[in-house]
């Protein structure tokens, strides 16, 4: 073991690492893209990407014009979920408003609404929803239904209608009501940004490390100095390790900065072990670096490498569950997330910050990250040797 360690840290490797450090340090653009860009992207994404549904614009046709109908309208529009977009005199006008985008939803109260209520009969109000965005439509439908449900309960409580209190005998026959009592764990305030930023952190780590690494590897070939390196007594793995070391340290620095943004700009709670999170991040960076090296061994110029990463990154990021739940993907694509390092890091990040989970819950993700890194890393060493021919 000690022998191996000595071998790894021999003067050749040290000299190579020194050379890479000197090269990277002078790269201003790299420093910029590793310090400023992630902060900007994280804040922009965290604040801009929110699926929250509030202030749905509600247009109203009130054919009843009674205190009862106004009470219903007030209950809906005074909440945070709905906002009054205006009154219309006919259903056609309301339909036009919804299709022209002046309102997101419409409610039609029939003319006999108050009369039916006073006579203790059932009445039906119509609710139109612009369902172009399926997610928003589902959530606002939930809002509308639960609000009217509560309004109904309130109406029953009021003593204005004719009381049809059944006698005790029939009360026994009727079944009780189930009361669903939801409790939101880990994020009781339902802050949208926590989910997004923990996912985007993984996205950033993978995208940046693969991009930077492929650029650094290709640069040597473009300048024609690769042959010189390969001719030197250093072995292939030594060359690769030396190339990776400074990048890895820089990317770790980027991870620290991003975690600071998560903590201080978004207030993500760190319930679990921070060391676990850092270990996951380091593994994630390594797998990103190995993606970059593999891409670089397949491309002849920096432009080709960049175009290839253009090709690899969108599916990698959209099939990761970083921005949306994995269950929302088509069934046949869901198993593919096992191969995606972003998915594993997002699970680790959410598990160890929001949920306060430990290694017991997260070991499968660590194992898969390690496997991905090892497989891609050995692939790149093998390809690196081949590329000279």
């Amino acid at each position: 073991m000690r022998n191996l360690w000595n071998h790894l840290l021999n003067y050749r490797l040290r000299a190579l690492i020194k050379k890479e450090f000197a090269q990277t340090r002078h790269d201003r653009k790299l420093m910029f893209s590793l310090s400023v860009l992630p902060v900007v992207q994280l804040t922009l994404v965290g604040f801009a990407l929110s699926a929250a549904v509030t202030n749905v614009r509600l247009a109203i046709v009130d054919d009843c014009r009674s205190p009862e109908s106004r009470e219903l309208i007030a209950t809906l529009t005074e909440s945070k979920s709905f906002r009054l977009a205006g009154y219309y005199s006919s259903v056609d006008q309301l339909g036009d408003a919804v299709s022209q985008g002046k309102a997101d939803a419409g409610m039609v109260i029939p003319y006999d609404y108050a009369r039916d209520l006073l006579r203790d009969r059932q009445t039906t109000i119509q609710f139109l929803l612009n369902a172009t965005n399926a997610n928003t439509a589902t959530i606002s439908r939930g809002y509308a239904e639960s609000m009217i449900q509560r309004f109904n309960v309130g109406l029953r409580g009021q003593g204005i209608h004719v009381s049809t209190q059944p006698v005790a005998g029939s009360n026994l026959a009727s079944r009780g009501q189930v009361q669903l009592e939801p409790a939101f764990l880990y994020n009781p305030g339902l802050v949208d940004s926590w989910f997004i930023v923990t996912g985007v952190l993984g996205l950033l780590l993978i995208l940046q490390s693969s991009l930077i690494c492929s650029a650094a590897m290709v640069r040597e070939r473009e300048a024609g100095t690769l042959e010189q390196l390969l001719m030197s007594p250093a072995s292939t793995s030594e060359i690769i390790i030396a190339k990776i070391t400074p990048l890895f340290l820089l990317l770790c620095l980027m991870m620290f900065i991003s975690l600071g943004v998560l903590k201080f700009a978004f207030g993500v709670p760190f319930h679990g072990n921070v060391l676990l999170l850092l270990a996951g991040g380091a593994l994630c960076i390594l797998s990103g670096i190995s993606i970059g090296t593999v891409v670089s061994t397949f491309s002849k110029s920096a432009q080709q490498a960049q175009l290839t990463t253009f090709f690899v990154n969108p599916p990698l990021s959209s099939l990761s569950g970083a921005l949306n739940p994995v269950e929302a993907m088509p069934k046949w694509l869901q198993p593919l997330t096992v191969l995606n390092p972003i998915h594993h890091f997002a699970t680790i990040a959410r598990g160890s910050t929001l949920k306060g989970g430990g290694f017991m819950e997260l070991w499968p993700n660590f194992l898969s990250l390690l496997m991905i890194t090892l497989v891609l890393g050995s692939l790149s060493v093998w390809r690196f040797r081949k590329q000279l021919s």
């Binding site: 929110s50 299709s99 203790d120 369902a131 959530i139 409790a183 880990y186 926590w194």
Partner: protein, 367 residues
């Protein structure tokens, strides 16, 4: 005019010769369209739900059956002796339904029976969806089961424009616009930056063609690429996505031509201002991808962006085109709904063209 056409033909020849990049630029958007539209959706199917039944009575089984019947939720077995939070921590389920031991007794007595529903809220949006679904199931279970009268007010909810709540129909047009805002400007910027890098721009300066005609020729060539891409992708929209024009198609058609102009002008402008291929590529990636992806309402509603950042989105050209395309394919609002958006796209395109013209002049000084 003759000069513009000649310039355009030269540009098209160059594009066609680099057939590998062209094929990539035409095929990649289709690939993205199919992949991302299915991958980006937020609405979920078969969300795993863990049920812990401490009662085991027929009433509790009845209630769980109501959850089993739902398409959006999938009941996952979980041993009673393991704690509910463990199921959430190990990602076995998105929520846990806990039925207490006296559930059946309470139901039979006609007393309200509370049932706990623990939701993993680390994903706030999905948490809201699960709660909404569970609430709907419970409500309908309460209504159908007993003789108790439902509330006096009934709601008849109608979903317009997308009654099946298919996310694909919402994301399809958005990704169509994303592809159109990414690839044609990428090619245009690379071509223009190459002229600066290889100094072939000097030959243009000594020729008789004025700067605005040179730019127009270039832009028209890339407009043709953009329109070809648009044609291929709209075929996909009409077949695979099952979309069709909901109303008057003319605003969308005119906007498409204007948008093709706008994105080609954007690419040419970037190439003229930044005569370096690698940096130009990054600038287009920022403008075409990050801005259109994040700030155009493609995935998440614009109203949710905090006011401090929201004004940026009114400068994002893709935003207006997404709204026009969605209107044409889903809502059918026609000219009264979108006329000013068509004008804005034209204005932004003209602005890019103007900046590119200025950039050309500065390039001349530098070269």
């Amino acid at each position: 005019m003759r000069r513009i056409i000649a310039q355009m033909r030269k540009e098209l020849t160059q594009i066609v010769r680099d057939w590998r990049t062209l094929a990539l630029a035409l095929a990649l958007p289709m690939f993205l369209l199919v992949l991302m539209s299915s991958a980006l959706s937020l609405t979920v199917n078969e969300l795993p739900i863990v049920v812990q039944d401490f009662d085991g009575s027929s009433a509790s089984n009845d209630f769980i059956d109501a959850f089993r019947a739902s398409i959006t939720l999938k009941v996952v077995p979980w041993p009673v002796d393991k704690s509910a939070e463990e199921a959430l921590a190990s990602n076995a389920g998105r929520a846990v339904l806990i039925i207490p031991s006296h559930f059946g007794r309470d139901m039979a007595r006609g007393v309200n029976a509370p049932v706990q529903f623990l939701v993993d809220a680390s994903d706030a949006n999905t948490a809201k969806l699960v709660t909404a679904y569970a609430g709907q199931i419970t409500t309908s279970y309460n209504q159908q089961g007993s003789g108790t009268q439902a509330g006096p007010i009934q709601t008849a909810i109608r979903l317009w424009f997308n009654p099946g709540l298919a996310s694909k129909k919402f994301f399809g047009p958005g990704i169509f616009v994303l592809g159109l805002s990414m690839f044609p400007p990428l090619l245009a910027a690379l071509a223009m930056a190459k002229e600066g890098e290889l100094k072939t721009i000097l030959q243009v300066y000594v020729s008789s063609i004025p700067a605005h005609e040179f730019l127009l020729g270039k832009i028209i060539a890339f407009m043709i690429v953009a329109l070809a891409e648009c044609l291929i992708m709209s075929l996909l929209l009409f077949t695979y996505f099952g979309l069709s024009f909901a109303g008057d198609p003319t605003p969308a058609l005119i906007a498409t031509v204007l948008y093709a102009f706008c994105v080609s002008a954007f690419g040419t402008m970037v190439g003229a201002v930044i005569p370096n291929q690698a940096s130009a590529l990054q600038a287009v990636a920022f403008g075409g991808f990050i801005l259109v992806f994040l700030l155009s309402g493609m995935m998440f509603p614009i109203q949710n962006i905090p006011a401090g950042l929201r004004w940026i989105s009114s400068l994002v050209w893709g935003r207006y085109y997404i709204e026009i395309v969605r209107d044409a394919l889903l809502q059918g609002g026609g000219w009264p709904a979108v006329w000013y958006k068509v004008l804005i796209i034209g204005a932004i395109g003209a602005l890019f063209y103007g900046i590119a013209w200025q950039g050309m002049r500065r390039m001349q000084v530098k070269a």
